[in-house]
Amino acid sequence: MKSKASLPLSYRLGVTSRLLAAVVGGYVLASLASVCLSFWLPLSRADAVVSGMLSSFVFYLLAVIWCFACRSAARAWFGVLVPCAILATLAGLAYWMGRP
């Protein structure tokens, strides 16, 4: 890192945006992943919920790493929101199938 004064505003905004994508987007992604697992895992309800929660933090980690590894802040958001949408669809599907 160079000294902060020399960094342009766009760079700082980019970092802030990535940070938001990582913290907020990552949490949503992890939550949706745990919900999805709890609906789709062929286990008893309580066990599926526990398994979903247990593994959710790995999804969070992967989301955070992605947000800072990719080339731009826009890609960071894209890379978090697309899996979120897929997981939400899968979870919604299971929920809708579960109660007709």
Binding site: L32, V49, F57
Partner: protein, 524 residues
Amino acid sequence: MKEGFRQAMAWLHTWAGLIFGWLLFAIFLTGTLSYFKGEITHWMQPEVPAHAVDDARSVAVAQRYLEQHAPTAARWFIGLPDSRDPGLSVMWQDKIDPGRRGNFIEKMLDPVSGEQLQARETMGGEFFYRFHFQLQMPHPWGRWLSTIAAMVMFVALITGIITHKKIFKDFFTFRPRKGQRSWLDGHNAVGVLVLPFHLMITYSSLVIFMTMVMPASIIASYDGDTRAFFNELFPATDNAPALGQPGKLLPLAPLVEQARAQWDGGHVGRLAVNNPGDVNASVNVSRAGSDRVVHDFGSTVSFNGNTGQLLRVSAEQSLPMAIGGSFYGLHMGHFAGPLLRWLYFICGLAGTAMIGTGLVIWLGKRQLKHAKTGVMPFELRLVEVLNLASMSGLLIAIAVFFWANRLLPATFAERSDWEVQSFFIAWGLTLLHAMLRRCRRAWIEQLGLGAVLFMAVPLLNALTTSEHLGVSLAKGDWAMAGFDLTCLGSGLFLAWAAWKMQHRSAVQPRAERARPLTLKGEVH
């Protein structure tokens, strides 16, 4: 791209580590102390005598006390003594109020005579344990903050591994007395050496509070009824409500024996008696966590308190619960014997050292750039002050907490609160000191003060109690003696660190002077 990825991860490692480093340092150090929670409490309450453990006698004593002092309580808890913590604790709750936490009355009893112990009031090791995850904040904010810190630690660990490409080759590289290089080598060595511990302790800390921080799947699967989820997980604790008709509670000791038979002779950790004075009284006997590695939250045998009828035995836990339980059990280390407990302690110290060296490296790298001008930007000075207060300041605060335990009069009213307050006052003063003094002087002074305070702990103990090293070693009271000796050892280490710091300040200018000279030589 590959190099870019590693650089991005190094950036993330640096900044995640810096922002949460101070908090993580305190969490790791107090957590490490918590592995000796019982021993610390024993030292801080020298009045509690160590007896041979006898569960049946302890249960009978506790029941007699509770029947006399809390016959109308809604719930009793009896915590049985073990070899590490000799106190018998009884707690009761007059009304069960799910909205409020901790409306318990707790008393410590002598497990033989049944008298209430006239021990000095203190939180003992419990203070460090509570601070470790509650951070002295109101519920639930401390738990949230510490779990967020755990997530940041997880990110910092994994990005650290990614950054550190030559993980095994570098492990055998240690370049002592090379300033910044040595710190980095040390950071890498303690990081890699106990990497499995770091990964286990970090991930398990997320798992411990997962139902609090990641509740989406509970809400989705149980339509927001979290109570239903817990009842399904732990059916044994779903007890019948009071009927309002008086009943006669059976002696508890035989129930304890029956429960032990269910576990092939496993140990009992604690008993909960619901509605003790009612016909619907129920007794939940829970297994001690020290019995095995995989913690089983629901390992409970439930009896009817009036008839002694066996109501429920919790089933073997399922695989996901066992995985969660192993994380919990490994984090807490209840199962660890003396040797393994020391290994836990050392691993915890290594983790603390890894965080500390990381903070030092961050500052050292940036200070080098400003060494020539002699002017320090504000943010570097801020990091410097926080480094000081969070590391050497915390050590002083811990020592002051022990000193307060011995110096505050045993009969002083709110002494337990004052012990805690002296901890935070001391910590605050070290922050003030760090702000007022120049960096290196402040390090030497704080490390020196910490060294004196810790080294004098055995002496203080000898002067204020009759449990000095000569007595405790002769009696074989290893918890008491071990505490004194560990404090002495820590004091010696801090003295060495302070001496090193002083020594280094004499060497550094010469090295700084030598470099410009050679540079000039090249130019001319």
